[in-house]
Subunit: 257 residues, 2 copies
């Protein structure tokens, strides 16, 4: 469809703790959910360690390839929080203590009667020219430079930052979906389902096996940006399942007789 | 240390459902845990869609860069299971119905009196020359070619395949770790902690903020392949925390007087 608009995104999750298993990531699945609702296609995710070269390489590869890049992690006050530095290197700009961020943080710590230490001041560092991403949870802002959006790794902060950010982004044509539950396993429906996919190229048909410990069943998800195509493909899947059911009944009665 | 041996790995999780948010990945965190115990360093994770070009590009980038690559997903019987084809393309070899896998699956379906359909036969496809990875849960094998290990996406199957695989892999020098819980937030300890990291380059010191809704605290994890280095750095962290505590006590009594 020529009016169809596709907006793509990637995520880069940053942190040794995700790769050692110490922390189980919760931001990838959340971002995936939010972007699906926002009609932005998440196309790729990477997780890298707190290593400048790894972050720079990943962010440069992803920002060249997708409309938006969202990062999580590495913007706290300690020595292993190097995301601001790495993003600055990736964009070839200086990493500076942002004046507005210094004021925001300075005010907050003053109100709380907590010393605004050199470590805490690190949280005001961002690439020159970056814009803030508001942090309604713990004040220290994320930032946006080019098509890269840098957010905190702590899930409650990541989620709050993302919530404010999403309405400011361009969205694509919404993808709509239908799920059909097949009582038959993928081995029974794989071939006719492949034919349905072939006959409905403007839909994307996913097949997800379920196993309850005794029997396989299948969740079939049909997705499309076009409502008419979606309902046509869904009807084809329904018809196919009835045909498989009829065939199995026939086989059963053949075996009995 | 010259006797130190480092073995690296990457993971490639394959599946549209991980990027749409429909399925929340459980394999990455599990692999991270298992590799940490096995003394194999997980350095990078990627998640890509069920698209041949995306899989080929990712697997070729990762297998050139790391000792091992583990993949999850896309080896079932339906049209969207294209991992075997994509890995074959990545290695420039044919994707064939493996004879041993055909026999394994054929026997199993015969015993269960289930037709060995063309769709089910798809699960026997793998790159020419690949070796099986045993599947004690649902029989259909994963496979290994070069330094790439291709496993199922269903977590119970992924875990069972991995369990059998791990003892066959070369391991590195084990990394040991210590955790010290700091009652102080990162802003209070960030600077002295950075100095400790600098003074102990053969350790890796991670700092993980905790927030209970009222106060920040910090979990400090010191990791090293050398036990002596680990205990020296841990002692330095303990001493630093006592100094911070003493300073805070001093400040409190200064404020009162």
């Amino acid at each position: 469809m020529s009016e169809e608009r596709i907006v793509t995104a990637a995520m880069l999750a940053i942190g040794d703790e995700l790769l050692s298993g110490r922390t189980k990531d919760k931001n990838i699945g959340h971002l995936a959910d939010v972007l699906t609702v926002a009609a932005i296609d998440l196309k790729e995710v990477r997780i890298v360690a707190d290593e400048e070269a790894a972050i720079v390489e990943a962010v440069n590869a992803l920002r060249a390839k997708y409309d938006y890049v969202f990062t999580s992690g590495g913007i706290g006050p300690t020595h292993d929080d190097i995301t601001a530095d790495a993003i600055s290197v990736a964009f070839g700009v200086e990493c500076l203590h942002d004046e507005d961020a210094m004021a925001l943080l300075g005010d907050m710590y003053k109100r709380r009667d907590v010393p605004f230490t050199e470590a805490r001041q690190r949280m005001a560092r961002m690439p020159a020219g970056a814009r803030h991403i508001a942090n309604p949870v713990s004040v220290a802002p994320g930032f946006n430079i080019g098509n890269v959006y840098v957010m905190a790794g702590v899930p409650s902060v990541f989620q709050a930052m993302l919530e404010g950010l999403i309405p400011t982004l361009a969205a694509g044509t919404k993808t709509i979906s239908q799920m059909v539950v097949s009582p038959f396993g993928e081995g029974d429906i794989g071939l006719p389902l492949a034919e349905i996919q072939k006959a409905h190229p403007l839909t994307s048909i996913g097949s997800y096996p379920k196993f309850d410990g005794k029997r396989f069943s299948t969740e079939i998800v049909i997705r499309s940006r076009d409502e008419h195509m979606l309902s046509q493909a869904t009807a084809a899947v329904d018809t196919m399942l009835l045909e498989v059911a009829a065939r199995k009944e026939q086989e059963k009665s053949d075996n009995k007789s």
